[in-house]
Homo-oligomer: 344 residues x 4
């Protein structure tokens, strides 16, 4: 079943810088792809996440000498130093809080690199979403995968933009304030508006697709599970609700839910993902409520929920494939990525 | 200083049906007005709220015989039965969960009545907001004061509607899920969208001002303090942000906050209200962030926060004054109400 | 009653009544055992949980005619009626909110039954915990598996009771108020004490091991993830902390965590369980903090965290094995159950 | 600078360092006392709290030149510099996060000083609770008022210690994680145990009354309103529950609540305090549930709730009176303080 070439392991060698919420997920997703492999992971402190990664056999590389002792005390083997990891990898995915600082190092090492949405567009000049601009990243050296919220907006808006077009989109982002594991961050009982109007999410969408007209406002609320967007789109054409639903049905990484299934909250979506057996209970797709979608007098209203920890993971995998020129066709890459990650 | 008429106490006699979150606040607000007095309060169970009301000297009337014993056991004096309360009052304010059921009783007793926003518009055919339609309620027998959210929308939108006009308003309501005392209701960690699109809030605004074009969507979030609205208004005229702020400055019951004061969340607004010495820490005004308000290409964006327990209280007092024909001029009634309630 | 083939397969046929938080987990756990199989599941409404169960191939049986239509509309096949399920099963596990009402039906059908800890001890006269009284349930017809909190207390206290003995245990239960999916229940921002002192958890421990001296108090707090117990035990012998830790090390279904791994909260424990790849992110073991355990002047202090949705699941599996006389040795059953469920 | 009349008023001049949660409350409490006055308040940033204090007429003193401009921009008058405030005051109450650093400055200025419970006992060598050791502080120069939790434990335990005595007390502190206004701090959905066993609260009680035998453990939970303690006391004498309740009835600053009044949670206690008209909705007393108190076989079990923002405020006022030798009798000082602060 495997070709000769596959037999001799034409797999792309990927390193991960930062093994937290995003880094650990990208590592697993890459590990699940047939045409990629993890050759190194870098993490400063030997937490339980490092222990579990070591059990999987991911080779750890130390950021500097001073962290070696701590890993040693926890009996987590260290393969080498950070610089050595850059030598064995074809591409590095940065998933650290302040990844921009590594750019010079990566350039010197002559390694391709992906950053996450916390960095600015100007770092790479190329902001990525699989459906919207996979081709643009083909062969590129440096790519930024946009944030979870921007990815969510692009997943549902881009097909409408292409198929029907819209004059203007207003999206209100109701943001979870901390990830489930993050016990330091509040608020415990408050709604905090992002007073900068419009919020940065609109321009971030435009960093991928410049001609989308979008304004966003945002609030933070005391929940950890998912972001939720209330989106209002002035369509160029007065199609019916069904037209939009059908459009999304054929778009990858959009998953429908309905109140009639008992799924009427972000909590129930997360329960569904756990019950389905998704690893870590993740939901890589954007959740859209079928019965919360409606076109009224040419305006489309819908709600979507974003699993902030995981929706960008498949985009990272696709970005690797495009940058490494492993697959020209975006749909084929999406299919491969989804298959590896058990996305429907 | 007092006129002869005031000397002989021309105060309107008000009864309160239901002494919970809203009822207790209306009772206190009426009690603080020079031209009104509380002649009776009806409550089923002798909770701490009844104890505190008895200490204030509000006369309790029993809904039926079966509740008398419980009040007796708590040493809370009962003045008489519910029907007797209707005889001594000029007007009754219903603040029970299901007030519609009392309408027949009130009609038979020949007493004027106010209901709250939980009831349908059709119950009275007259839905009330002080600035928007005070005059309509003049002399009316039955009035419904609209809900906290609708009141909030009308406070800020009505002056724009009159002064500039707008083509369309989209408001996303981020709703607190339970009042601070209400420990039964969740969610604890979830965002629950109101999947009926548009939500009922838009039509409710139109029950007061039919020619306002507004669509609303809503989500529930795990907080108890305030609702928050993200409002987007397509103005008929491209005025600047300052124009809007000046308009609101001269509108009663709108209160500005700014992040530069350290007020960047609903929690901080509530802290301000407590620090100011507001009774119960209430905020009867609608809170608007000056630095969260912006006109961009003819579209107005703003956030407002609604203290769900108390913003409708002054409207109830004004409604009494209009229905009882105590004051023809809405601005004078608003001024009187505000003065009694220590609203700036 | 058993066919030849079934005889060869030697797997016990289990039915599940109620397919919610507990029912769905028991179904999966039974399904993972080599010596058991799910022959039927009964659930009233065709929610997403039913859809996912149908995808797994669990046969649905309808509680009554009136639910058939709803299942039909969702294209979920129904195998038969509830009574028919009782005929094909050897044992039924009740996981409904009010399971006591089914006892007569089960008796008439001549089927063995397990109930959960929400039921009273008197329903079966036999309350179960794998380590404490596996043998008592051997061949029994009706067994009650005690609640998540009681199971947690027994897991850690029973080995101390046997090995060292203790004069008295005081446990304060800090209870999560709702399961993650349960968006109806509060409080959002409150601590609610259980004013009945002592709480019911102490006597419930004694329903399994009568000679344990334990008093418990309890509060409810606004979190969904896990219960946490602060336990204080007056030991009969002044052993050192290490003695206790070694005792627990050899006890099944106790899992140590440490702050030095970065696991200093219930949130981090749940993150660990997700990262480990546990199905649904469950933790069937009781979590004990090694660095939160200390013996001081003959008194043992420790914290333990209980994953309320899943700690009782392996006990249900063991109870089936004991009741069906499949295995006499508790340690062997525990090992089998753990192996099937991927518990370390 | 001071007039003859001020001399006749004999009021003690108090300065406040730090005008946050605690500082602003002490300022108001001192302001309400007939024998004390606020002569200065120092705060770094001109937030809304500064605005409201300025409206009350509290004179602001600037911590350094660099803050003057910001106050000027907000039109908040500044009376002088920090050093000048120390000259006009008899005593300063420190309510800053890191107050220990000021000790040298206060010593040089020759001014008496009070610190809060965040500082170490060794800073003053004298830790204070009104009932337990008022006399010790008589004439003292430097006093530390213990933390909210320690104050709570002393309020209810000290009378038992004196009247009956106890062998040992175990208290489990279920702590609110952030104050209501504090939107930065989490957790949003977690229980975080304090793994150091025993927690610091026990020794802190002993810093006031060394011969009390107490061990404490603590957890943090996602609520903002109040701390709650589950307390277990091995009494020296087997008195009945009523004995304990009567003891507390005659102890100042303990307030009973009962579930039969509808007060079954910290949220309802806070609602009661708001309804009673307490300034800021504070509760200066320790809340004890009458129906959550029980003596069982010589062991006393009770729950108490602590309003972390305000229970220590009257102790600060009493400490001033003792240190300034204004009143020798603790009961008289307590009575004066309570009267000024409208504590029952």
């Amino acid at each position: 079943m495997f070709s000769l070439l596959q037999g001799i392991k034409m797999s792309v060698k990927v390193a991960i810088n930062g093994y937290g919420t995003v880094g650990k997920r990208i590592a697993d997703a890459v590990d699940q792809q047939k045409d990629m492999e993890i050759v190194g992971v870098s993490k400063r402190t030997p937490t339980y996440e490092a222990e579990l990664a070591a059990e999987k056999g991911f080779p750890f590389y130390a950021a500097s000498d001073k962290y070696l002792k701590a890993f040693d005390e926890k009996d987590i083997p260290v393969e080498g130093m950070f610089d050595e990891m850059l030598e064995v990898a074809d591409l590095i995915v940065d998933a650290t809080p302040k990844g921009a600082g590594y750019k010079e190092t990566f350039e010197k090492a002559g390694i391709k690199a992906i950053w996450q949405g916390g960095e600015k567009h100007s770092l790479t000049g190329l902001s990525f979403n699989s459906m919207a601009n996979y081709e643009e990243a083909y062969g590129a050296d440096y790519v930024r995968v946009v944030s979870c919220n921007t990815t969510g907006l692009l997943r549902t808006l881009y097909p409408i933009h292409v198929d029907i077009g819209f004059d203007k989109c207003n999206a209100v982002m109701i943001r979870r304030s901390a990830d489930p594991w993050d016990t330091k961050r509040g608020p415990i009982n408050s709604i905090d508006p992002v007073l900068n109007i419009p919020s940065h999410h609109g321009p971030d969408v435009q960093s991928v697709v410049p001609d989308i007209d979008i304004q966003t406002t945002a609030v933070k609320v005391p929940t950890t599970l998912m972001h939720l967007h209330s989106v209002i789109v002035d369509l160029k054409e007065d199609v019916d609700t069904d037209h939009i639903l059908k459009l999304w049905e054929k778009t990858p990484r959009i998953k429908f839910f309905e109140a009639s299934q008992g799924v009427d909250s972000t909590a129930k979506i997360m329960e569904w993902a756990k019950d389905r057996g998704n690893f870590r209970g993740d939901l890589n797709e954007i959740a859209v409520w079928k019965d919360g979608t409606q076109v009224k007098d040419g305006t489309l209203y819908y709600y979507q929920a974003i699993h902030q920890e995981s929706d960008i993971i498949p985009e990272n995998v696709d970005a690797i494939r495009s940058m490494m020129e492993m697959e020209e066709d975006k749909m084929k890459s999406i299919q491969l990525t989804n298959a590896g990650m058990s996305i429907e």
